[in-house]
């Protein structure tokens, strides 16, 4: 080997498996992490509150993306599974006195079990029919949240404490930020690892070509159920984090509307893309906040806008989702790929 082309050469397959390969991508991720963890120093309470909502949404969106984006199984019940996690965690901590850091994974597991049960129809149904079956799951769980008052306290709502551990309470936006951010990063890393190893390939295979997948030895029942369970596990974690952050939960927080918002997140962010879940969560949490701030600023000149806000919000939401479906069906993740390859070749790209 006398002649060598310049470029990024790898000498082992191990090197190819490193997540951030080039010097610059590592530098960027390092700067990002530093920026993230020092955020409480320069962001105000409100900004941190928004960040916390984003972090929780990221965890939930990762779960739905595994199910819908990677495995191709539609679910209209994600909101309900968030609720299962929220109430499970609230009940464990408030009624049974279980420590939060035990209740959190338990909430995930309980939601995962529910997901497993309600995922069983996916073994027979696909597409719209599966959507309807998961819709049934949504309504059944909503009904239970209202009526099993011994656990949920029904429509009155259940009070939940901030999480605490060994006398330390995550009772401010700053403290909660570290908790949520760390868990969101962890969830992202684990999900990324799953999709680049054997179970993730089986998920994608079932989505792309179920017959071939089965002939290659992938048990479709097992992996569909696994996707449902993992997806609802993350929903349960997100639900638990949410419950202990807003400190009062009612069944209204976990309606079909929430399920659809999560679907919108992964569609806008990018189905079947890990980073799509993040972009989608950021987008969907920021959008109403931005709309609210904008309408607040305008209300000085145009007071009527405030009254219209609710209607405008829904309308803009719908328009944006339709615009994405038409103009950017691969989501923000696709834009991100284009931007990255643009900068790689810069200044030769044009």
């Amino acid at each position: 080997m006398s002649a060598r082309y310049c470029g990024d050469y790898k000498t082992s397959y191990g090197q190819e498996m490193v997540l951030f390969q080039t010097f610059f991508s590592r530098l960027w991720i390092l700067l990002f992490l530093i920026g993230l963890y020092t955020a409480p120093l320069y962001l105000n309470e409100y900004a941190l509150y928004v960040c916390n909502l984003i972090g929780i949404a990221v965890i939930g969106a990762l779960g739905l993306n595994i199910l819908a984006g990677f495995t191709g199984q539609i679910s209209l019940g994600h909101g309900a599974f968030l609720g299962v996690g929220a109430y499970a965690s609230a009940y464990l901590v408030m009624d049974l006195g279980v420590p939060f850091f035990v209740a959190l994974p338990c909430a995930g597991l309980i939601a995962a079990c529910c997901g497993l049960v309600f995922g069983i129809p996916s073994l027979r149904l696909k597409g719209l029919y599966l959507a309807i079956a998961t819709l049934a799951a949504q309504f059944i769980i909503e009904y239970l949240m209202v009526h099993v008052e011994g656990v949920t306290n029904g429509v009155l709502g259940k009070m939940v404490d901030f999480p605490s551990c060994l006398g330390f309470s995550f009772d401010t936006d700053q403290r909660y930020f570290y908790l949520v951010t760390t868990l969101a990063l962890l969830a992202t890393l684990i999900t990324k690892n799953i999709v680049r190893t054997r179970p993730g390939r089986a998920f994608i295979a079932i989505r792309d070509q179920p017959v071939s997948a089965e002939v290659m030895g992938v048990n479709p029942f097992k992996y569909k159920l696994m996707a449902f369970a993992f997806s609802s596990f993350l929903a349960g974690i997100a639900g638990s984090l949410w419950a202990h952050y807003v400190t009062i939960i009612t069944p209204e927080h976990f309606t079909l509307g929430v399920s659809i918002e999560y679907l919108a997140m992964i569609i806008i962010g990018g189905m079947g893309q890990i980073i799509g879940s993040i972009f989608g969560a950021v987008f969907m949490v920021l959008l109403p906040e931005v709309l609210r701030v904008a309408s607040g600023a305008l209300s000085g000149q145009f007071p009527v806008i405030v009254n219209l806000f609710a209607a405008i919000k829904e309308g803009v939401f719908g328009l944006i989702i339709i615009a994405f479906l038409i103009y950017e069906p691969d989501g923000l993740a696709h834009r991100w790929q284009l931007a990255k390859s643009y900068w790689k070749l810069w200044p030769f790209s044009q």
């Binding site: 190893t197 994608i204 989505r207 002939v215 696994m226």
Partner: protein, 278 residues
């Protein structure tokens, strides 16, 4: 010919016995029986709609026959779900290429290693120690297949961006990654140009000779079939018309009649210029 002695279990790797498959009264297969010897190349020919692909679907567990059975290495496959058949050592390709479009070439091949790998949600999610080591090990196996099929230049490409000829080749690779003892290929040369067809024939022969893999082929290219097969079976309207050596098949009156209804041979000269090299 084969007699029913114990030693035959080793010689006959696949035995199809009186398989009948019908779709709403239409017989796609009618009492079809055949025996595939270990290490051989066995081809199935016949006009479109004869039931060749249906037979593959029965063998690989996608269709359940109304009557008859399929024995692979002496084990009855007839009632097994498709995903339980692959681990026994049986892989196949499809007539219409059925790859995983959103995955890269490497990922498609790694999926072919599914049954040889162990990682689940937990170990995969942590990607540490064992799972990492497993991923590396199987990556090496996959790279050997990439070398063998001469597709190094496309290894990182997504399937959706590949031309048809390479997709056909990749589908062969994915089946190979499973390390099957019996490989079913449904029209591996259909739609390929002359050069690609020759490459494919070479791969098939190499797989048979170097890996000692038994091959069951469906193919329309008579030159190739007569050239590389040890045994040929002819299906017509779901029925087995004849089975035997390529030579015997070419001379078989019923086959000649079914194909042309005339005396002229329908079989072109083999690739090597000889019709009866086997």
């Amino acid at each position: 010919m084969l007699d029913a002695t114990a030693g035959d279990d080793l010689r006959v790797v696949l035995e199809v016995e009186g398989v009948t498959l019908s779709f709403g009264g239409v017989n796609a297969l009618l009492n079809v029986s055949l025996q595939v010897e270990n290490g051989s190349i066995y081809s199935i020919i016949g006009p479109n709609g004869a039931g060749k692909s249906s037979l593959f679907n029965v063998i690989s567990g996608l269709y359940r026959p109304q009557r008859g059975s399929v024995l692979f290495k002496g084990q009855d496959l007839t009632l097994l779900p498709a995903h339980k058949i692959a681990p026994l050592g049986l892989a196949r390709s499809f007539q219409q290429v059925e790859l995983f479009k959103g995955m890269t070439v490497i990922e498609n091949l790694l999926l072919g290693r599914h049954i040889h790998m162990r990682a689940g949600l937990f170990s995969g999610g942590l990607f540490w120690g064992k799972a990492r080591e497993e991923e590396l090990r199987h990556r090496q196996v996959v790279e050997k297949i990439i070398d063998f099929l001469e597709i190094e230049h496309i290894r990182e490409k997504t399937v959706a961006t590949l031309p048809y000829g390479l997709r056909k080749r990749l589908e062969l690779g994915r089946a190979l990654a499973l390390e099957p003892e019996l490989l079913l290929l449904d029209e591996p040369m259909a739609g390929l140009n002359q050069e690609e067809t020759e490459d494919m024939a070479r791969f098939i022969l190499d797989i048979n000779q170097e890996r000692r893999t038994t091959l069951l082929l469906i193919e329309h290219d008579m030159g190739v079939v007569m050239d590389i097969s040890d045994r040929v079976a002819v299906l017509n309207f779901g029925e087995l018309l004849a089975a035997g050596t390529p030579h015997a098949i070419q001379e078989h009156p019923a086959v000649i009649e079914a194909y042309l209804g005339a005396e002229d041979s329908v079989f072109p000269e083999g690739r090597s210029g000889s019709r009866n090299i086997l």
